[in-house]
Amino acid sequence: MKTFYIWLAQWLLLILLAPLITWWMRKIKAAFENRVGPNPFQVYCDLLKLFRKEMVISKTSSWIFHAAPYVLFGAILFATTLIPVIGSGSLLGFVGDAILFVYLLGLGRFFMSLAALDTGTTFGGMGASREMSLSSLAEPALLLSFFALGYRAHNLSLQGIMSQFALESPIQVLFFTSFAFGALLIITFVETGRIPVDNPATHLELTMIHEAMALEYSGRYLALLEWGHQIKQIIFLALLANLFFPWGLEPSPNLFGIAGSFLFFMLKIFFLALVIGWIEAHTAKLRLFRVPDLLAIAFVLAALSLLGQLIIGR
């Protein structure tokens, strides 16, 4: 029963801390650009503001437009339950493995693209077509890197992989999985819509990918989309942190152990966010037609990780 509460707590923490990571990334970016940046509560306040605002909804939209934010948010909440944060297990880790995780994200994306097409605006259609063509390349790379990790861990569930790696020596884990780490890092940029793939801060409709799909949304729906996006971001950071640096996951069941493990986890994801922010600040956005090249690199890295293990042995 106690572990159940820990798992529940870690799930809630991921959801509640997601905006904080967004704040942290903005703050890093601001630091690189000679700006002060927002205060930690700004992102929460923005969400709160959006939840209270009136929604303006196109008359031509159907039920899909209304359903999509809930489906997307729900799918992401479900995906979040699959990820161990401080314990070696997760709330619903027993129901599914990495494949379920990938396709939960896929479900949200599918509905989001439909909703973008639903209103019949040009930008929505453009965003949907871009999102679909990019994710059709990102998905195989994401799956393949999970397979590479799963091959090593003899297990395809996220909690199984993490707890297996946590037992092994750090050098051994990183030697075989570093390629997959590269792949997953690139996919993190694509999935979370960050430079060099997409620019979350732009006002230029014609260059948008993710933002273009959300252009018609306002008020509560927009808040759900934004929050969902922020949770997705923290999920990917948690994956990167716990799959490749899975130490400190098994806390002693007292309060200090849990708190220490949690702090260590926060440290890891804040550091990873710093790395991503640093990369963002030092690159311009890629041309849209160069993004597939980047995803091809991710795919090749994942394939190399798997092949390397097949050739050299686990």
Partner: protein, 525 residues
């Protein structure tokens, strides 16, 4: 310069009617309407003169109340040849130059819209300035149209040229954009992400500034001229006052000329730095953009320290400049300019090291030299497409003839070239300010404006940060202004964007647009 008149008269004995007048840098000839196409072709093809622009005027005091003037510039000396044709109210057509001179396209359509004079033989005589909600047969720049007249809105539809084919779809963008920018409509036809065609639709902010000028005294209009295009305030003001000075025959004191150079170059500096920052921002490179915006702010603060306003408004007045620079201000300017120059140098070197940025701007949005030439491109955009043209050097005004500077020209015509041109020009502007400060002669900074002559016109011109900016002022028999024509660089350059985007993809459009950085307000007037 009578020889041009005689030379042309020999070539076209029946067509050249009269030598009108010669003043300052201009030679005015009256020619017959039917011969204008041949004469223009001869001037451009044989004499290698450059066609600048054309404009109409409605002068009710004349027997033939409509005049159209064609401005040419001589190949080897800093003078303008202005051909005039006159039209009676019974025959409201003039031959179109567009078929062989595409750059006349917008100008002739503007005349059709505002004066109701039809360009015969124009290949696409659609509306340009006035939109479809403006009733037919109402022409705002005719004298009979009262400034305060209420015009009813009518229904109508603007026909965009359709692109047919499987998988081709249209993307309407604007006139309301997501950012805080001015209104303009862009209609893309694209297959997937590739742009097949772009048609632009502007003039949403047409304010009738030229109409406002009618019947006013010059002093009332300077303030308006400064507000035609906000970031080119000084260029428009300088162009306007130079037209007045040429018209009235006022000669500006030397010291004022050098001070004008300093302020005009300061305006170019903050504009170019801001443009380069914009390119970095739209390529998603926030770091470079914020560094350059920081430099822009230093220029604006500098402007404020020198003139009292951040955009250096009200500095240039008819007859000179408003205020002299104090010794302390000059020292501050020199110190600040040198310090910003080093800062800028470091930032630019850093920009070129970012390979992802270089990849974005290389080959993007290329304007071929022949397109830029045919459509009459001006300014840094033309210079990035291999057209070596700069009013500061070719038709020197203010004190530019005494100063040494280079005109950078690149030939690729892509975003990178435009950025390079602007970077080089920034360095040249630093040099020019330094030089002008060193050579600043003693003396007064302004003189009283002489009285305006009656029924005369004159041209004022400035190489603004965006390119050639012309103001034409014409007085009536009472000495009031009867026609104020503003030929802004954005009006010349907007048509180029339709060609710059070809063979590019939709998500690169904002970057291309930013590299051109044209003004909507300056274009629409």
């Amino acid at each position: 310069m009578k020889s041009v008149f005689e030379g042309l008269r020999e070539k076209f004995p029946d067509s050249i009617k009269k030598f009108l007048w010669e003043s300052g840098e201009e030679v005015h000839l009256l020619v017959t309407k039917d011969s204008i196409v041949q004469i223009a072709a001869f001037l451009i093809r044989t004499l290698r003169m450059r066609f600048l622009f054309l404009f109409a005027a409605n002068n009710t005091e004349e027997k033939e109340p409509f005049q159209i003037r064609y401005v040419f510039s001589f190949q080897n000396h800093a003078r303008f040849l202005i051909l005039e044709i006159r039209l009676g109210s019974s025959d409201m057509t003039f031959p179109s130059l567009t078929p062989f001179l595409p750059q006349a396209n917008w100008q002739e359509r503007e005349i059709e819209d505002l004066f109701g004079i039809r360009a015969e033989g124009h290949p696409a005589p659609k509306r340009l300035v006035l939109h479809e909600d403006w009733p037919k047969g109402v022409f705002p720049l005719r004298k009979e149209f009262a400034l305060q007249a209420q015009v009813p809105r009518v229904k109508g539809e603007y026909p965009f040229d359709p692109v047919m084919g499987e998988g081709v779809f249209e993307i309407p963008v604007g006139p309301v954009h997501a950012g805080i920018i001015e209104p303009g409509h862009f209609r893309f036809s694209s297959a997937g992400e590739s742009i097949l065609k772009l048609e632009i639709r502007h003039f949403y902010t047409h304010k009738g500034i030229e109409k406002l000028g009618e019947g006013k005294a010059p002093s009332e209009l300077l303030c308006l001229a400064e507000r035609i295009s906000g970031d080119n305030s000084l260029a428009h003001a300088a162009s306007f006052v130079q037209a007045i000075e040429a018209l009235s025959g006022t000669s500006v004191p030397e010291r004022a000329k050098y001070l004008r150079v300093i302020f005009l170059e300061l305006e170019r500096l903050y504009n170019h730095v801001s443009d380069i920052a914009g390119i970095a921002l739209d390529a998603g490179f926030g770091f470079g953009s914020s560094q350059l915006m920081r430099l822009k702010e230093r220029f604006l603060v500098l402007n404020e320290r020198l003139s009292g306003t951040r955009l250096a408004r009200s500095v240039i007045v008819a007859g000179g400049v408003k205020r002299d620079l104090t010794e302390a201000q000059r020292a501050f300017l020199l110190k600040e300019i040198r310090s910003i120059k080093n800062d800028f140098d470091t930032t630019i070197q850093l920009l070129w090291q970012v390979s992802s940025l270089c990849d974005r701007i290389d080959l993007t949005g290329a304007i071929k030299p022949e397109i830029a030439e045919a459509l009459g491109g001006v300014g840094p955009i033309a210079r990035a497409s291999g057209i070596d043209r700069d009013l500061r050097r070719d038709h020197p005004y203010a004190a530019y003839e005494h100063l040494l500077f280079l005109v950078p020209v690149f030939s690729e015509g892509d975003v990178e070239s435009r950025m390079k041109v602007k970077i080089q020009e920034v360095f040249e502007s630093f040099k020019l300010i330094d030089e002008a400060l060193g050579m600043l002669p003693e003396g007064p900074v302004s003189v009283l404006l002489a009285r305006l002559p009656h029924s005369r016109g004159a041209l004022g011109y400035v190489e603004s940060p965006r390119g050639e900016c012309f103001h034409w002022l014409e007085t009536d028999a009472q000495g009031k202004i009867s026609r104020w024509k503003i030929q802004s660089p954005s009006f010349s350059n907007w048509p180029l964007i339709e060609y710059a985007v070809l063979e590019n993809i939709v998500p690169d459009f904002p970057l291309i647009n930013k590299s051109l950085n044209l003004s909507y307000a300056g274009n629409d007037r």
